[in-house]
Amino acid sequence: MPVPLLQRRLIFVTGKGGVGKSTVAEALALRAARSGLRTVIADLNADGHAHELEHEANLFRISVDPQHAMEEYLSLKVGGAAGQLLGHSRLFSAFAMATPGMRELLSLGKIWELAQTDRRTPQASPYDLTIVDAPASGHGAALLRTPRTFAEIARVGPIARQAAAIAQTLSDRDFTAIVGVAIPEELAVGETLELHEALQRERLELDAVILNCCHPDRFEPPEVETLTALDGGPYTSVRLALGADQRARMEREQAARLERRFGERLQRLPYLFEPELDDAALGRLAAELRL
């Protein structure tokens, strides 16, 4: 039996662009925080705060910035004269940032640090759970692959050791979970299945697949017959109802594709018709999650 999601220390949330990755990551974090876990949600957009900020009780937020992560790494891990020298060297900075994969590795290094029980950042309290609002599937899979390829390129030295440690953490299913988010549409489902294969090639697994934005499926076949008989007349509401039913049927097919592959690992979240995704709406989604 795999360890339940909320008992792990690190959860990556990824999926096709526009399927609601961030929303699902937020809902997961809210659920974790409200169940008493000290939770941090990390994004890689580098447009928020590079320091951890408390959003509500038990819920923290950080925007991981590779440049900042590098400076932190150098001062804490390398330290001394070398750390100082590198930290202040524009040459080194340009060099590191231009090195293929280095930005991803530095970001992952910071995420890894957040998830440790014994954190190297002085005076930092440990988190029970770190949730990563990861980039879209293609970039997300590349991100998760980075430590392994880096460990292979660098081979020796501290970076190779660090990269190997991160790679080890990512493949430890007691510690790390990867959650795929999809919506019940052809392309998003296809991309989720591709993501699954890409991760398996790296010996990683999707621990849960969350099918977001499931529209209500409320009409029984005889009801659809009744409605079809009235279609084409002046009843616009009947036309809309039939449109909704057509959508529900298409979604059923797409959900079945995922169900075949993921079985029990698949769960659904309802489509919300609210004008805005406010805290109350997010709370509703958080409560729906099966964890």
Binding site: L91, F95, S137, T146, R218, L227, T236, V238
Partner: protein, 356 residues
């Protein structure tokens, strides 16, 4: 307004926007529509999900544009030609190296370098860079009347726009010069390992990485001028009035904010912003008379109609917000089509909406 008017006189169209708003489909529909009107069009998608390939019935698109069989597109008749390709970053990189390397041997050395292999495949950002390289290649021959380019999701869009300038500043900047001391290569590697900064770097990274990197940058350095010239040409191309950027969005709050941000970035960068396309808009429906239905079913139907009305209202809010931010720039709305738009009939329907 038809999109054909917007694209009058354009040689390059770049579709940008958040993930999941239908950029790839829109790019393909625009290419299809312009080909129908008589242009020779190439559409380049860099989306890893291979969507365009499936929509056009091509199992695998290779790294060169392929002519789409016009018979596939019936009943639509093409007066021009539609060519399509999916970008393969690795192959585009290799082709670029072949084109700019001073000799075949030098090209082989670069392609065999481990850092290069990493750069050209695994790294996020290689898509942005190679898309630009491909755009340059396809436009410089003058073979196509119009090149339509799909882009990665807009969080990477800055990278995409910056690619030429970033490469240029990287090549001219300190990082590379440090490796290009006016001495032999052996001396360079030696100099590299003795300079204090780089000695510290070696301690942090491991020496193998440094050696590979120094070789990589040294090899790359021999091609600085050629890269530099290309970067300038691309920059000029992107700023040219014959290029156009379309921002693609869908009528929800997040994509709308990204569309506004993107348009601002383009305008600020002096790039030719052409207009916005909002996909999947729910058109308002006039309420009809109540249908003669049993109460339970009637209630369900009323609920479905109520939900639809909520979507119409929500779309309208996002569209108004975008319209205000566009300050009079063109805005095209494409209605939500029934079913999932992932096949050719969906593509044809979208083309019809855009070119009305």
């Amino acid at each position: 307004m038809s999109i054909a008017e917007l694209l009058e006189g354009k040689r390059v169209v770049i579709c940008a926007g958040a993930g999941g708003v239908g950029k790839t489909t829109t790019a393909a529909a625009i290419a299809l529509g312009m080909a129908a009107r008589g242009s020779k069009v190439a559409v380049v998608t860099i989306d890893p999900a291979r969507r365009l390939a499936s929509a056009l019935g091509l199992g695998e698109l290779d790294n060169q544009p392929r002519l789409i069989d016009p018979a596939r597109l019936a009943p639509l008749e093409l007066e021009g030609e539609l060519w399509a390709m999916m970008l393969d970053p690795k192959r585009t990189f290799d082709e670029l190296i072949d084109a700019v390397a001073p000799s075949a041997q030098r090209a082989q050395e670069i392609k065999g370098n481990r850092i290069y292999r990493q750069l050209s495949t695994a790294v996020a950002g290689s898509q942005e860079f190679t898309a630009i390289a491909k755009l340059h290649e396809l436009t410089s021959t003058g073979e196509y009347d119009l090149v339509v380019l799909d882009t990665p999701p807009s969080r990477n869009a800055l990278d995409f726009l910056d690619a030429p300038a970033r490469l240029e500043s990287f090549l001219e900047g300190g990082a590379l010069k440090a490796f290009l001391r006016p001495t032999g290569m052996g001396m360079r590697v030696l100099a590299l390992s003795t300079a204090p900064v780089l000695a510290a770097l070696r301690r942090v990274t491991g020496i193998d990485l440094v050696a590979d990197l120094s070789t990589f940058f040294t090899l790359l350095g021999t091609m600085t001028e050629s890269f530099d010239r290309r970067a300038r040409q691309v920059d000029r191309l992107l700023h040219s009035p014959t290029s156009g950027f379309l921002v693609i969005s869908s009528p929800q709050p997040r994509p709308t904010e990204e569309a506004i941000w993107f348009r601002g970035t383009l305008v600020q960068g002096g790039l030719p912003f052409t207009g916005a396309v909002v996909n999947r808009v729910h058109p308002a429906v006039e309420p009809g008379p109540p249908a003669p239905l049993p109460p339970a079913l009637g209630a369900k139907v009323a609920q479905a109609a109520h939900e639809y009305a909520a979507l119409v209202a929500r779309d309208a809010t996002s569209i108004e917000r975008l319209q205000r931010a566009l300050e009079g720039a063109p805005l095209l709305l494409v209605p939500e089509l029934s079913g999932d738009v992932h096949d050719l009939s969906g593509l044809l329907q979208i083309r019809e909406q855009l070119f009305r």
